[in-house]
């Protein structure tokens, strides 16, 4: 019976309603554009057609081979960047000198658009999954290694000193002080790494590839099959949203309050 609490709750419902209304308005405008205003069906398919195509894509299972390729690339890329990023980040964090040398260097490289290396990776590794894995791993390595350095390298000295004064062994220090202190920062880096790995795998599929969801979308575009292409885009958005939600939930669970 807290009036201000109820106020916040109604406010939340209202903003949800506005969000839904906004999406509905976009759909209506989209529909009007294809019917009343006569925008070419090749450039902008009718939403109803897109919906039918989406049903078909999902029910026929036509997406499975491409999804398998994309998720396989993502899993390999993330596994590489996670193991390399966390272990190298931890090693660098153990020395002030290494932090001073490598943290600015890695941050500088992180700020350049690494997708520029895709042509090189394609040249070296071919048009298959390997070049996508390499690019995804390269791009996601940086947020992971940087957050691992930040997490382990800047643990509150008072806590470390206190643990040492009470006789903590190196293993106890790692398990009970360093890991819990670093975990929230490292997990945030892993989430970010996952997101950019997914992004770069799909993006590089659209640029040069044989298979994968990104590849399939470009294929449909080139065949002017825009309704099905839109259906695939919606499908990929749903997959990405689902994966990001899973990763965020895992991150939230592992955090201390």
């Amino acid at each position: 019976m807290n009036p201000s609490g109820r106020g916040i709750a109604t406010g939340r419902i209202w903003s949800r309603l506005v969000q839904i209304a906004f999406l509905a308005a976009v759909l209506v405008l989209w529909s009007l554009a294809t019917t009343v205003w006569g925008v070419s069906r090749i450039l902008l398919p009718n939403p109803v057609n897109v919906w039918h195509q989406l049903i078909d894509v999902v029910s026929s299972g036509a997406f499975i081979p491409d999804l398998r390729v994309t998720l396989g690339e993502l899993a390999a890329a993330f596994a590489i960047s996670m193991s390399l990023g966390v272990s190298l980040g931890y090693l660098i964090s153990r020395s002030r000198y290494l932090i001073r040398v490598f943290e600015p260097l890695l941050a500088a490289i992180y700020s350049i658009p690494i997708i520029l290396f895709l042509p090189l990776y394609v040249l070296l590794l071919g048009l298959g999954p390997d070049s996508k894995i390499a690019l995804g791993a390269t791009i996601s390595f940086f947020p992971i290694v940087l957050s691992t350095i930040a997490g382990f390298g800047y643990v509150d000295r008072t806590l470390v000193t206190a643990a040492r004064s009470m006789g903590a062994s190196n293993l106890q220090m790692f398990r009970h002080v360093l890991v819990p202190a670093a975990l929230p920062v490292v997990l945030a880096g892993l989430r970010m790494g996952f997101t950019v790995a997914l992004l770069s795998v799909i993006a590089s599929e659209t640029i040069a590839s044989f298979a994968g969801l990104g590849h399939h979308i470009v294929d449909l575009a080139e065949n002017m099959d825009t309704a099905r292409m839109f259906a695939y885009i919606v499908f990929v958005i749903a997959i990405v949203a689902f994966l990001n939600a899973v990763v965020s939930t895992l991150e939230g669970r592992a955090r201390w309050r």
Partner: protein
């Protein structure tokens, strides 16, 4: 009176951060000698940067002095001595991801207390500081004063003869500080622990200490020792006694010139240089 051997003996300790000639070179302590008697509460007081916190770290084996020796109960200090002494720091240094109870148990785990004993001892320590009802709280849910009580409980649970307290009430407001000071005095009268207590506050020093070691400005060394002859537990009424004021004025007289000296060289950008330096030296060893 009974045992001739002091609890802590500091002999000819000098400490510098950085090498001579370097820009960051600081001579924190110069040829300091000091004895802490068994069962006494000794306050270390002095201007900022005089190296009193550094000396506390050296006593506890957290910092290796450049020269000189420290013995605790006759044993030379070469590193942390968790069985002989426990620390209480200015910031509570409780692990924020653990509850108060878990924090205390973890301290005993580090020290090597048998598992069966830990929970019981943690409960008794919390009782001693009046925090039993807050055992399952996280440090972030407690006030500053309660956090320091919890940190004190953790130190007590380790059952060491000696407590080293580095401005434990420094970040608290005046009233909380006074109440915790009274509690500490009661605790001391019961437990017969030896306590070394670093402080900036003249009143706190006189109220708590059996003896006050007054430090000179950097490079710090003991300028004079003042005895406060008043039994524990001390009552708030002690603070209004003429003796209290006379001692406080005497302390201020001793410190006044040193504080001026310290302020005149505050070209140093960091206020609490002694602690910052200590943390750095610590990091280099880790």
């Amino acid at each position: 009176m009974t045992s001739a051997q002091p609890a802590i003996r500091v002999h000819g300790v000098s400490h510098q951060f950085g090498q001579a000639g370097e820009a960051r070179h600081v001579q924190a302590l110069l040829d300091t000698s000091l004895e802490v008697a068994r069962g006494e509460l000794q306050c270390l007081i002095g201007p900022s940067g005089c190296g009193k916190s550094t000396l506390l770290g050296i006593m506890g084996g957290l910092i290796a002095p450049t020269t000189g020796t420290v013995t605790v109960s006759g044993k030379p200090v070469r590193g942390p001595m968790p069985r002989d002494l426990a620390f209480v720091f200015q910031e509570s240094a409780l692990f924020p991801w653990n509850t108060v109870f878990e924090n205390i148990v973890l301290g005993m785990t580090f020290q090597g207390v048998a598992k069966a004993e830990r929970r019981d001892r943690a409960r008794r320590a919390l009782e001693a500081v009046g925090l039993l009802d807050f055992a399952e709280h996280y440090p972030g849910q407690l006030s500053g004063g309660m956090r320091q009580r919890a940190a004190l409980a953790r130190a007590l649970s380790l059952q060491t003869d000696i407590l080293l307290m580095d401005e434990p009430f420094g970040a608290l407001d005046e009233q909380t500080r006074m109440v915790l000071g009274e509690d500490l005095s009661v605790l001391l009268s019961r437990s017969k622990k030896t306590i070394v207590f670093v402080t900036h506050s003249l009143g706190e020093a006189v109220f708590l200490a059996d003896r006050v070691a007054v430090f000179s400005a950097r490079p710090g060394t003991v300028k004079q020792i003042i005895t406060v002859d008043e039994p524990h537990p001390r009552k708030p009424s002690f603070m209004t006694a003429p003796k209290f004021h006379a001692l406080r004025d005497q302390l201020y007289g001793l410190l006044h010139d040193e504080i001026r000296k310290a302020i005149s060289e505050t070209a140093q950008p960091r206020r609490r240089y002694d602690q910052a330096g200590a943390a750095e030296a610590d990091g280099d060893r880790a």
